[in-house]
């Protein structure tokens, strides 16, 4: 917040919070699990973002004869071909972007909703907290994937709708986690003192509460992201993916529908599947590691 040149109550805490946050990233890097996650994520991003530029995929590039259909890996087709004679490796490279895109936008929606509600609920407590948490608990208990499937079946299967639907159903856990942290933060003497000095609610939330829950939001973000990518994959596999966009889930849907299983076309199934697992695992390693280094009981003791 560089726009504030005048010292205001509680600025000392903002300064305090900054090194604490830097420490989190350093501790993530020092944790072997966290570092493995970062390495894996780097590889996944390289494959997903650069791969399609080097080996572009053309869905109209079918095989020329029956002999090019469902071929095992070879020099010409590194990961074999599909039931239409398309190159599986190129389709794999092209398919990651949608997973990443849907995952990120859904997570953004879920974070804004979850962190926002958690912040308001925990900060104001009282009746507002009661009402918001009742609503949160209702959505927390609803079976998420079935709800996502219903919403996608009702409202369409474009990438935008998929992101919205996953985002709008993935926030309750975040709201719960952030709320309980904020509840304890607001009772801290410093926050109480700053309030008595006349700092407004919005300012207290922004300067004193938010920086302190930020690492927690990041840890949760990585886990929500994993869940969102899995949800997108499941939707696409069940035939609710965007019909004009290639994604790993869609590839698996096509593989399953075309009888790749009984034909023994393992390359057609394994390639996109490994992509999903690698991407989800990268984020869940990072999220789990952040969770661990943020929890003093478990992170400190090694």
């Amino acid at each position: 917040m560089s726009d504030e040149s005048l010292a205001q109550p509680g600025d000392a805490v903002a300064v305090e919070a900054a090194p604490a946050r830097a420490g989190v990233w350093r501790r993530l890097w020092r944790d072997p699990m966290g570092r493995a996650g970062v390495y894996l994520l780097a590889v996944v991003l390289l494959v997903v973002l650069v791969g399609p530029l080097v080996f572009p995929f053309n869905s109209q590039d079918f095989g020329t004869s029956a002999a090019s259909i469902l071929q095992p890996p070879s020099a010409a087709h590194w990961m074999g071909t599909t039931e239409l004679g398309q190159d599986v490796f190129r389709e794999f490279l092209a398919g990651g972007r949608i997973s990443l895109y849907v995952g990120l936008s859904a997570t953004l929606i879920a974070m804004v909703l979850g962190a926002g509600l958690g912040l308001v609920s925990g900060y104001y407590a009282g009746w507002r907290d009661t009402i918001l948490m009742r609503i949160t608990d209702f959505f927390l208990v609803l079976p998420t994937l079935p709800l996502i499937i219903v919403l996608a079946a009702l409202f369409g299967q474009s990438v935008l709708v998929t992101s919205l639907v996953i985002g709008l159903t993935s926030w309750p856990q975040t709201a719960r986690i952030i709320r309980s942290q904020v509840l304890s933060l607001r009772e801290r003497p410093l926050v109480q003192r700053v309030r008595s000095l006349g700092a407004g609610d919005l300012r207290i939330m922004r300067v004193h509460i938010l920086p302190n829950v930020a690492p927690l939001i990041f840890a949760n973000l990585a886990l929500v992201l994993s869940g969102a990518i899995l949800a997108q994959a499941a939707l696409a596999f069940l035939g609710l993916g965007d019909p004009v966009q290639v994604s790993w889930g869609t590839t698996l849907h096509n593989a399953f529908d075309s009888g790749a299983m009984s034909s023994g076309a393992w390359w057609y199934v394994l390639t996109p599947g490994v992509g999903i697992v690698a991407m989800v695992l990268a984020f869940s390693l990072i999220g789990h590691s952040l969770d661990r280094v943020l929890n003093p009981l478990q992170g400190g003791r090694a």
Partner: protein, 322 residues
């Protein structure tokens, strides 16, 4: 457990169920593009059938009256009529519920047992190589989509080795006698259930491990060790019992997850349950069946969480008394 606590819980349960019904009404009957209105206007039905549809949902009445009619239908267990099967939704679901219960029930029991045991092993060797491998392995399995795990198992045990059946619930023609039938269903059950266990056990192993690591350094555990009790007695006899509370909460929430997994697994293994029904009704846009299935799933999850809540309270009180 006091009567007052129970009363409050039951009231909350009733309210939640009521909100769920209303949420379903909103989703399927009010929001723009809702299937009931689309259908009444489309050429899907004969004029006579359309009149019946309009009467069933009271489409010629104002929205609030439609809502009351909907509530009444729900109370009478009238979930509508399937477009595809041309039967009441309840009849269509009736055949599938039992099959899903077999699959989800078996998978849930095995998942919790395996998850807790693995979690205890990891915690009692905390910060060792075993512990780290279990954590990373759990995360790796958790990162696998249920449907993909199922497809791998089909390759391993079906396509390549023909060790186990990979499709359906019975082998046609060999179902003579109850015992042979049960055995046959059991063989068909192995792979779909194993898929759900592999993907979901991590949820429990990680929670058990993390809770137990905290419990194992508490004073009473140290005291028990100092008293001369073996490590195994202390872990299983004292610590695990107190680490079970978060597991119970997780078990409640887990039911929602495993039902999501069941949709994928039943699709992959053609297991004729609610999940496969949801997949088929999505594919054929059979909205009344989809609505009924979602409603039943939501009720199942809400009731399970209610039970988990009560169980938590019960166990927690016992822990405090000792």
């Amino acid at each position: 457990m006091t009567a007052r606590y129970l009363g409050r819980k039951v009231a909350t349960l009733a309210l939640t169920l009521y909100v769920t019904v209303s949420f379903n009404f909103l989703l399927f009957h009010v929001l723009p593009g809702n299937p009931v209105q689309m259908l009444a206007r489309s050429g899907h039905f004969s004029p006579a059938a359309r009149v019946q549809l309009v009467r069933l949902f009271g489409l010629n009445h104002p929205l609030f009256e439609q809502y009351l009619i909907y509530l009444k239908n729900m109370l009478h267990g009238n979930l509508g009529f399937s477009y595809v099967y041309r039967e009441p939704v309840t009849t269509v679901m009736g055949g599938a519920i039992g099959n899903t219960l077999i699959l989800v029930g078996t998978a849930t029991v095995v998942t919790i047992v395996v998850g807790v045991i693995v979690g205890v092993i990891a915690a009692s060797r905390a910060h060792s190589l075993t512990d780290a491998s279990i954590t990373v392995g759990s995360l790796a399995l958790w990162s696998m989509p249920d449907f993909f795990t199922g497809m791998i198992l089909i390759f391993l045990f079906g396509v390549w080795t023909h060790a186990l059946p990979v499709s359906g619930i019975v082998t046609s023609g060999v179902t003579e006698g109850l015992w042979a039938h049960t055995l046959d269903v059991g063989r068909h059950l192995i792979l779909p259930a194993l898929t759900l266990v592999l993907v979901n056990a991590a949820e429990f192993s990680l929670i058990t491990r993390n809770t137990l690591v905290d419990v194992l350094v508490e004073d009473y555990v140290v005291t028990a060790r100092a008293k001369g009790l073996s490590r195994r007695r202390v872990v299983w006899g004292h610590a695990v019992r107190n680490a079970m509370l978060p597991v119970i909460t997780a078990a409640g929430l887990y039911v929602g997850m495993i039902l999501g997994g069941a949709i994928q697994v039943e699709t992959v293994f053609s297991w004729p349950g609610m999940g496969l029904l949801i997949y088929n009704s999505v594919e054929q846009r059979d909205y009344p069946v989809l609505e009924g299935c979602f409603f039943l799933f939501a009720i199942a999850v809400i009731v399970t969480n209610f039970i988990a809540d009560l169980l938590y309270h019960l166990l927690d009180a016992r822990v405090r008394r000792t």
